[in-house]
């Protein structure tokens, strides 16, 4: 093959390689979420009550224990699962039981959920039960929120700040 033709062939090969690298380094664009929607992101980590109430040991029971293990309270490690419910415009958006973490079930329950919803005004209610009660909820927060397109609306839960936080 003549030298000039060889160089031309090399040029074509390099150009094609550059074209592939240059194009796929940024294109085609990926649509992660509909631009007209907003995102409700619920995320929190919270430990529910213990499954049973702690019981104070009697003196006789304490005496039976080695001296270094005589804790006055006997607490079952396992915690209750949290019940979480989200309601959007009167309809249940999400309802789930969140089991405690850890092998012994004594850790915090965690939630991380995303809900793309149409932008606009919505009536949002968040409810959570973290006690041993059979029905009803321990925390509830309701608000009318106006979501802009692509807005990231965060629902957090901080009991020390009063419960649900709409951020």
């Amino acid at each position: 093959m003549p030298k000039a033709l060889q160089y031309f062939g090399q040029f074509i090969a390099y150009a094609l390689f550059a074209l592939v690298v240059g194009y796929f380094a940024t294109q085609p664009a990926y649509t992660h979420m509909d631009p007209d929607k907003a995102l409700i992101k619920m995320s929190f980590s919270h430990a529910g009550e213990h499954l049973q109430e702690c019981r104070r040991l009697t003196q006789e029971e304490l005496n039976l224990l080695p001296p270094n293990m005589r804790r006055p309270m006997d607490c079952l490690r396992k915690r209750v699962a949290l019940l979480i419910e989200l309601e959007l415009d009167g309809a249940i958006l999400y309802r789930d039981e969140l089991p405690p973490s850890g092998l012994a079930g004594d850790g915090a329950s965690t939630a991380y959920r995303k809900f793309p919803v149409p932008a606009g005004s919505h009536h949002l209610v968040a409810r959570l039960r973290d006690s041993r009660r059979e029905d009803g909820f321990d925390y509830e927060q309701a608000a009318v929120v106006t979501l802009a397109p692509q807005q990231n609306f965060v629902i957090d839960f901080r009991p020390e700040l009063g419960g649900f936080l709409f951020l």
Binding site: M1, A18, G22, F24, H32, S43, V154
Partner: protein, 546 residues
């Protein structure tokens, strides 16, 4: 389950076996077809498809050098990270901007050559038997390269980085092994901590360094491992990347804003090709796919259809520890160790069965593997059990016994090249070797100067892509008198021809053989060397060739 030596696995149904081999043959032919095209433009010595591994090293070094430059100006603060890169891109475009673009495009090019390298080695069947180590250590590199690239995009802290940060941490959370959700760090702008950036910078520096260690381990079992592409190819590749960097500089997208969800994102599909799956399948499923795929790749060398050649063995009575086999073994399978017998030599060759591929290149390097030996049995210092050099001489002499005409040719080919059977004829004998470099140069001398044939024709894998890495190169150097054992000067070079046709250029191979035979017919008759006994012992042979 490993398959027995030199056989296909009997426990695979024949139909399936044919299908697997058929797909591989088609893919191999496709690669060779592409090679043929690139060989024309680049020549076999510069063919980028035959230098995918070295190009990977080259891109790695470009990424490292450009990364060091970028790090000098990079600020790890939440807002400062984006601003520092904007400064490099827009104000210092002539240096920092070019470096940033080189950093990105070399990383992307690394993905392309790495994937092609993996596919090529699989298709060319260069990952099984004793070559498992190189394949096995290459698989973690896939994860490391992706970890480097993804952590790099994260540091820009634009909307793409925001998407990657959230998607990656959500994916990690899906493993369920972290006490607290990592993705909670990116809930909104208020929860974002600068410490995460410091961690990412650490990862983005530590992982490439660890990668270099794994890359070094990756080539440990290869003798004369090449880590640099030919200069011309390197210059062309760097020029291409520079041109691309100037024509289409790497830019940041809009700055990250956790209060807003990225919607339409310019995407680097080389590194993020799997990320869109996270929007459609659970993270755990993607872990199963990625983990299962990696496990499958790791186990591939031991999965059927397996095949392993018998390994070379040393005969101490004929080995003087000259070390030529050690020098020539492409896989560092032969080493010199202190003598274990009472012979008057200091060392002996020792073959590691774990490393030996059974290619026979060591036999071709052994000075005692000479067919001229007549007074003693032809047992070389190192030999292949399933095709010994004595058996090769007998087979060759038997094959040429009935040749007729004045263009009698013996073809020595390898089992990874074009089909040799089609070359057989009234004046052509064909001998198949594991690798053509198994043929000691003295064999060619023997065939021509003793008048057994009029010419010797060597063929095998495609030029620049020897199945056993160095067979074609060593053969060429031996014939040219550049590598020991040399082909003696008395052998007329015009009676030797080479054709590195691979598996796709059968017609060209036949044509070249015919042309060679025509050339032989036009030559004056060769004056045979006087026949005399040339029996040599190990020590004599070594001196003879030194």
């Amino acid at each position: 389950m490993a398959c027995p030596a030199s056989s296909v696995c009997p426990w695979i149904r024949p139909g399936v076996r044919v299908q697997v081999i058929g797909i591989r043959s088609v893919a191999k032919a496709a690669f060779e077809g592409a090679d043929n095209v690139f060989n024309r433009a680049f020549t076999p010595a510069w063919n980028p498809l035959c230098h995918l591994g070295t190009l990977g090293w080259f891109f790695y070094w470009i990424v490292i050098v450009s990364g060091i430059y970028l790090y000098i100006f990079f600020d790890t603060g939440i807002n400062q990270a984006y601003e520092s890169l904007e400064y490099l891109t827009n104000v210092q475009w002539y240096a920092g901007g070019v470096m940033r673009s080189l950093h990105r495009y070399a990383s992307d090019a690394l993905i392309i050559v790495m994937m092609l390298h993996l596919l090529r080695e699989f298709v060319m069947d260069r990952y099984r038997g004793s070559r498992w180590f190189t394949w096995f250590t290459g698989v973690p590199l896939l994860w490391l390269v992706f970890a480097c690239g993804i952590s790099g995009y994260w540091m820009v802290w634009d909307v793409l980085a925001q998407y990657i940060a959230i998607a990656s941490t959500e994916w990690l959370d899906s493993l369920g092994i972290f006490g607290q959700s990592i993705a909670r760090n990116f809930l909104n702008n208020d929860t974002l901590s600068g410490r995460f950036f410091t961690l990412m910078v650490f990862i983005h520096i530590a992982v490439p360094l660890f990668m270099l260690l794994v890359m070094w381990i990756h080539i440990q079992r290869q003798r004369n491992a090449r880590v640099n592409p030919p200069v011309g190819l390197a210059v062309g590749t760097l020029g291409m990347l520079l041109a691309l960097s100037l024509a289409r500089p790497a830019l940041s997208q809009a700055p990250a804003n956790l209060d807003k969800v990225p919607s339409v994102i310019d995407f680097d599909w080389f590194y993020l090709v799997a990320y869109p799956l996270l929007d459609t399948i659970p993270g755990q499923t993607l872990w199963a796919i990625a983990g299962g795929g990696s496990l499958l790749l790791l186990l591939l060398p031991w999965l059927p259809p397996g095949q392993r050649r018998a390994t070379a063995s040393v005969d101490l009575d004929n080995c003087n520890g000259c070390g030529r086999c050690v020098e020539d073994c492409p896989f560092s399978a032969v080493s010199l160790q202190p003598r274990t017998d009472d012979a008057a030599f200091s060392h002996e060759a020792v073959v590691s069965d774990n490393l030996c591929t059974g290619c026979g290149i060591c036999v071709g390097a052994c000075p005692t593997a000479t067919p001229f030996r007549r007074t003693s049995e032809l047992i070389p210092g190192i030999d292949l059990p399933d095709l010994g050099i004595q058996e090769l001489r007998e087979k060759t002499l038997s094959a040429i016994a009935n040749l007729s005409g004045n263009a009698r040719v013996v073809v020595f080919g390898c089992s990874h090249g074009a089909g040799l059977e089609q070359l057989q004829g009234a004046d052509v004998a064909v001998l198949k070797l594991p690798c053509v470099a198994m043929l000691p140069p003295s064999f060619i001398d023997f065939m021509i100067t003793r008048g057994h044939v009029n010419g010797v024709f060597l063929t095998g894998c495609a030029d620049g892509d020897c199945h056993y890495r160095l067979g074609i190169e060593w053969t060429g150097q031996r014939l040219a008198g550049e590598r020991d054992p040399y082909l003696r000067k008395r052998v007329p070079r015009e009676r030797i021809a080479e054709s590195w046709a691979g598996i796709t250029r059968n017609k060209r191979l036949q044509q070249e053989l015919r042309t060679f035979q025509d050339r032989l017919r036009a030559l004056p008759p060769f004056k045979r060397t006087p026949h005399r006994s040339t029996g040599v012992r190990a020590g004599e042979a070594a001196e003879h060739h030194a």
